[in-house]
């Protein structure tokens, strides 16, 4: 337990990512961790990963264990254990004068899939736990093959119940309810091309801001020329995202991929991201992958780096995740087939190393470490991040 006023400023840092972590928790099972291939259940597999993130003064690492096992021909069960061990001295911590802090987040997921004809029905449950935030998500999905197995349509619904707490105030407890509506369509285009369209609406209701985070406003009475006050967010948010992805098989056994996603929400955030990838298997059992991603967004209507006065408007935010910014990232993955032809109960196995470097550039979030500048003219903030994953995959 951290104590005193430092907590408020320390936790500001991690707070920026917390709301999205909740959304991620539930979405993961139905959309990401266990891809549904309608008409056939996925292969039995286990993945053991160590992940590490280092950027902007924040270091996050931990394990992830993912297991999928069929029971008979029609049922598969899944489980995921995931930990984020956070050590943070981000820009928010540094500029508040607080010291580095550490905390853990543990996430446990379970799911079941049932195959019936050309359809797969799935249910999932996820729990995420931190010392000041708990999230529970339940989900249901159905995926159907149709048109001669040329098309797969997927529908999903998730409901999340979060509890927000405050380490500086034991009496503080607020709720957030979230609902995700998902629609997916995967289509065979040619013998060498697949296309996927996904649409998702997410609605949030409840305490959506961070109990620790503050906004900055001009204050001539302050020695710095500015002061801070708590942020205030609307209690509802609705967002829509539409993504288009495609993969194309090249004549010499390699694949290229492309992705575009458009996002907008009721807070005024509008985002685009593009991604391109290339996958190249070698005869020796190696698979090489490279990818480039670009992301850009506009700021929320109530975001400002520096408000003109205290209580300047009814809603206020200085969360850099709601600012104008863009990012570029370049990544590589190296995979090697350790066991290609079976060994005891293992059909095959691969070892994988993935690395990505991300450049973040903010357009209206300023670096307050520069205390010599007139408020509002400090240099714009930017940082780089390194993301690494090492994982072993077993199929059995």
């Amino acid at each position: 337990m951290r104590a005193g006023p430092k907590v408020a400023t320390e936790v500001v840092v991690a707070a920026t990512s917390r709301m999205w972590m909740r959304a991620y928790c539930g979405i993961c099972l139905l959309c990401g961790c266990f891809p549904v291939l309608a008409g056939v259940l996925p292969e039995d597999r286990a993945d053991v990963m160590y992940h590490a993130y280092d950027g902007g003064g924040v270091e996050i690492s931990g394990p992830s264990l993912l297991v999928l096992k069929k029971i008979g021909q029609d049922v598969a069960v899944t489980g995921n254990y995931y930990v984020d061990s956070v050590s943070s001295a981000s820009i928010d911590v540094v500029t508040s004068g607080a010291s580095k802090y550490s905390e853990d987040r543990t996430e446990v997921s379970a799911g079941i899939e049932y195959l019936h004809g050309n359809s797969i029905m799935s249910m999932s449950y996820t729990n995420s736990d931190e010392n000041d935030y708990q999230a529970n998500t339940a989900g249901f999905g159905i995926s159907m093959d149709m048109f001669g197995n040329m098309t797969t349509v997927s529908l999903g619904y998730l409901r999340s119940w979060d509890t927000v707490e405050n380490n500086t105030d034991p009496t503080f407890s607020e709720d957030v309810d979230r609902q995700n509506y998902q629609l997916g369509l995967t289509q065979v285009i040619t013998p060498d091309m697949l296309m996927e369209v996904n649409f998702e609406t997410i609605t949030d209701e409840g305490y959506l801001n961070n109990p620790y985070r503050s906004v900055r406003y001009l204050d001539s009475a302050s020695a710095d020329g500015y002061s801070f006050e708590p942020e205030v967010y609307p209690r509802t948010r609705t967002s829509n995202a539409l993504a288009l992805r495609s993969r194309y098989y090249l004549p010499y056994r390699a694949a290229i991929s492309g992705e575009y996603r458009f996002f907008d929400d009721s807070w005024g955030v509008r985002a685009h991201n593009f991604e391109f990838g290339y996958t190249h298997p070698l005869e020796s059992g190696w698979i090489l992958e490279a990818n480039y991603r670009y992301y850009t967004q506009t700021s929320a209507d109530f975001y400002s780096d520096l408000f003109p006065r205290a209580n300047a408007q009814n809603f206020m935010s200085r969360d850099k995740e709601l600012s104008d910014f863009s990012s570029h990232s370049v990544g590589f993955t190296l995979a090697y087939d350790l066991i290609a032809n079976g060994w005891h109960f293992i059909d095959r196995a691969s070892i994988n190393l993935a690395y990505e470097h991300i450049w973040y550039d903010y357009d209206n979030f300023r670096d307050l470490r520069d205390t010599a500048s007139v408020p509002g003219t400090e240099p714009l903030y930017s940082f780089n991040a390194d993301v690494a994953q090492l994982y072993l995959s077993l199929w059995f």
Binding site: M21, G148, V153, V188, N198, F199, S239, F263, V269, T333
Partner: protein, 74 residues
């Protein structure tokens, strides 16, 4: 509005599934599509992690995909 449009598209597709649709890519033509390198989520643990990395630092969320399927290779 967009959600309603997409829902209408899906309903229309489900309704038309009652009539026969001739696949223009035959099952025996799907060897390339069945290759693991054509999977949208070949490594689910890695895809989920990167989705988490992006979501934690971006305002956008949703439609990350990974529903898979569609190649009818099995």
């Amino acid at each position: 509005m967009l959600a309603k449009f997409l829902l209408a598209v899906v309903v229309a597709m489900l309704a038309s599934a009652c009539s026969s649709v001739e696949p223009w890519v035959r099952p025996y033509e799907r060897a390339h599509l069945a290759d693991p390198i054509m999977s949208f989520t070949r490594d689910p643990v890695a895809s989920a992690y990167m989705t988490h990395v992006y979501q934690a630092r971006e305002g956008a969320r949703g439609a990350e995909g990974g529903h898979g399927g569609g190649c009818g290779c099995n």
